[in-house]
Amino acid sequence: MKPAPFRYAAPRSIEELLALKAEHGDDAKFLAGGQSLIPTMNFRLAQPAVLLDLNTLPDQNFIVETSSGGVRIGALVRHSDIETSETIARSHPLAHEAIRFVAHPQIRNRGTLCGNLAHADPASEMPAVMLALGGRFHARSAASDRWIDASDFFLSIFTTALEENEMLCEVEMPPLPPGSGTCFLEVSRRPGDFAMMGVATVVSLDEAGRCAEARIAYCSAGETPLLAPGVAASLAGEEPDETALLNAARQAAEEIDPPGNVHLTSAYQKHLVAVLTGRALRTAFARANTSASQ
């Protein structure tokens, strides 16, 4: 299990990095945390000819609160930085709650959020979190500079809207709506494993205590992280009582159709969609109530 040979560069500026990427195109891969890429290379399932290492870039390890209350996260922010960030714990408890489900401490010390999102493993937690939060992704290449909405970013398994020479250089999590509550829940075989099913929820309450808005996203549920807009629409304007939650759970299992895999049957995953949707919404609404009463 030794990787195939490759040529290597560790540029000192993002411009240099993007120029090299433009030069080598598909032959080159970005190396950020490497916690997904390097195992794949060790198995020789990936054999990139060129690796462009981001780790020597200056100024990419930032977690910055925006004036609107959102948070921007740079390309070299590790999972463990998010785990220990007081800013994120306060502003985006959903990301803070979910990050502890990502692999193990040693992996979180090395893996980056942007790398994880660009890898686009549908079983991974943070892509679903970004969908639920309505995150925005900053993509740059030598020739372009644009923002992509999370809902447009994940196209298929390991496939994103990034063009060949684009790099995901930061993500922005917009502020949570007022009166909101969030919850991330997953069921995995062992701690640190990919989820058998995971759900990220953001809900908000109006002044009458009814559901103003809900966003519910799933990991391990399909070829990409998936939103359940139908469930969200049904919840809007409803009083979030047990009946509403049970209906939402039932509806989620109709809306989300997980494919199953070598470990799991589709039917069981579907069952977990219902179970976790109910549980996560119950917690999220309870948290929304708490935040509203504060």
């Binding site: 030794k2 560069a9 690796l51």
Partner: protein, 162 residues
């Protein structure tokens, strides 16, 4: 510039090393074979078992999931750096012996390095926290019970001495 060979300068257990390597050389292989520090063990080479855990800039990482050039300019600690130069064991090592926290001992160096960083950050760790922190290191011999006991003992000793 793209390079086929890379010069790497790194400090391992306080000692400075400078080597020219192929960029694909895994840091675990560099430490073991190029530097001869064979206390860091390799168990899976896909980042699951934790046997190769070392500290890079005081944080535990999988040495099998870093390429050697990525260690350039960084400080590494391995199990060989734990005990005093006079051979006196680190309190963690002492506790592992006292509590029979190892059997074959192959996973042990990775666990010691993980726990060294963990205790530094969690000087009053509970059993639950210890078990969670250990969950990225597989041990096939002990069933973890005595490892947890050993870490608890080390926490109490290190906490008590500071």
């Amino acid at each position: 510039m793209l390079e086929e060979l890379v010069t790497v300068s790194t400090v391992v257990n306080g000692k400075h090393y400078r080597r020219v390597v192929e960029p694909r050389l895994l840091l675990s292989d560099f430490i073991r074979h190029d530097l001869g520090l064979t206390g860091t063990h390799v168990g899976c080479e896909h980042g699951v078992c934790g046997a190769c855990t070392i500290l890079v800039d005081e944080k535990p990482v999988r040495a099998c999931l870093m390429f050697t050039p990525q260690a350039d300019g960084h400080a590494i600690e391995t199990v060989e750096g734990l005990a005093e130069e006079n051979g006196e064991l680190h309190p963690l090592q002492e506790a592992f012996r006292d509590k029979h926290g190892l059997q074959c001992g192959f996973c042990t160096p990775g666990i010691l390095m993980t726990m060294k960083a963990f205790i530094a950050q969690h000087p009053k760790a509970t059993e639950g926290e210890i078990r969670e922190a250990l969950s990225g290191n597989l041990c096939r011999c002990t069933g973890y019970q005595n490892i947890v006991e050993a870490v608890r003992l080390a926490v109490s000793r290190i906490g008590g001495s500071s």
